[in-house]
């Protein structure tokens, strides 16, 4: 089932994936990824020091493979952020080799 609500059917034959029932190109792309190797945004918070708040919310600016979510979170537990930080600032480049950056979604002063 794709996010827009279309029911799709996926079948695999000889290594080829066939998708039926999707109503748009995006839907086909989504279903293909979900079937082969799902990708997700990572969102979490980082420990903060020296600011008025305790945690800084962050996200990856692209999707990463689902099975890398937990290893990334484990790694990020070792990181700390200090002010100042702007919204959208890159905190970690190329997070765990995913090719995707971790950016701040909030500001820190």
């Amino acid at each position: 089932m794709c996010p827009k609500g279309c029911h799709t059917w996926v079948s695999e034959k000889n290594g080829r994936v066939d998708i039926q029932g999707a109503k748009c190109k995006k839907g086909i792309e989504y279903v293909r990824n979900e079937y082969i190797r799902p990708v997700r945004f990572l969102t979490t918070t980082l420990a903060v020091e020296g600011a008025d708040i305790q945690r800084l919310s962050v996200r990856t600016n692209g999707k990463i493979h689902r099975e890398l979510l937990i290893p990334c979170i484990e790694y990020l537990k070792t990181r700390k952020v200090f002010p100042p930080v702007r919204v959208g600032e890159v905190i970690v480049e190329n997070l765990l080799g995913t090719g995707v950056d971790l950016v701040s979604t909030n500001e820190l002063e």
């Binding site: 918070t45 420990a47 945690r55 537990k77």
Partner: protein
Amino acid sequence: MGNEPNQVFDVVVIGAGIVGAMLLRELSRFDCKLAVLDRYPQPGFGVTKSSLSYIHRNHFHPPGTLAAILCAGAGRSFRKMSDELGVGYRETGEFLLALEPKHIPQMMKRKEWGERNGEKGFQKMKGCDVLREEPRINPSVLSAVYSHGHGMIHPPEWAFALIENARRNGASAFFDSEVTGIVRDCDGLFTIETTSGSVRSRFIINAAGTGAGRIASMIGDNNIELTLSRGTFAIFDKIHSSLVHNILYVGGLDLSCSQVLGPTVSGNLILGLGRFKTPDSATDTKVTREALDEIIAMGKEIIPDIPVNDVIAFFSGIKLVSNLAKNGDFYIGQSEHTRRVIHLLISSPGITASPGIARYVIDLLANEGIRLVEKKRFQPSEPRKVSFSDADWEQRASILSKERKYGHIICRCENVTELEIQNAIKRGAHTIDGIKHLTRAGMGRCQGGFCEGRIIRFLSEALGIEPTMVTKKGRGSEQIKGME
């Protein structure tokens, strides 16, 4: 425990519920070394915090019973202490309702007891007159007995203030100190062992509530049997505070159940107690589905359109009757083995009777040879606690000009400010529930949804402990399992 390891107390009170706290405070008028021990983190965490919290007129027990003697003059005592201790007390009226013919002789009996106990002002009223006063009541109400002057308090707040006043007057108080054993030493004194050290004393008062039986057996008094029974309460949102104005009791003589709906000192409504059940233990205060359904059904009998969807909290409380008294009367008496241990086996209405109990026990102690010399400089007063919600805007402006934290609202449901919470922590409330009972933060409709994080932080900072060490109600009830 205590600063001097060899300190010997004249009297140690076991249990800082409202009975023990009232007694300690009254004893602190005299020149003697006093201490109270309690298993919980602060006063009033046992039976005291789970009751209707009414100061009743004296119609619960017939004349000649110990309970009736001890409940006399309760209202007057509480009114006076409310001013002295700076704690809340409000009065309202009460209707003993007859919804069915069988209730009529019950309520008339209570009227008779009240009058024979010296109470004045009980009026029998016709159903239609009752409906004029309380329009939302079941229209089939037959008649009622009305009396005014019933008090409403928040007992844990009182227990806390009583202990504070006792301490101001020299008494010691030890919390998180569960009594594990009592030994009679060869010099005739008692050594009381607790989970946080031991104390020695000449006299012991067993005011341990539902734990009194256990304490008694430590002295060797195995003749005490407590029959415990559990009742359940529901609290309604303040938006319904004008649903009823008086305490509404149905019938009244059945010792196996209680059906009452009425206002609280905070402006909520409380409903209770249902058919009493036997708890699994002295601390088994779980609320069962049956009990909840039962009190709601009972509530509907009193107020047909009772707002069942606006229950904001429910809890249970355990009360006791002892085998040493008849018909649910109180028992206060010395140990079989030593005249210097007094057991207080207090049934309902214990809160109402607490001033009377204190005076009675002090008389007993005097008879046993304690020299009770009144202190020259007994200080009866505690300052009125700062409260935002109880103040008017003029008072608020005045306090805010001196204390910025008074303008920082932490509990939005009950309008409790940071100042009040920090004050409560300074006074000794070191748990989330402890702060709740002193300030009302967390008692509103969102039940701590907005304020609990800040309260945990305040406790962590003020006490210098990790947030994972902050507890809801004492060791074992840590609220946070880890840091991110």
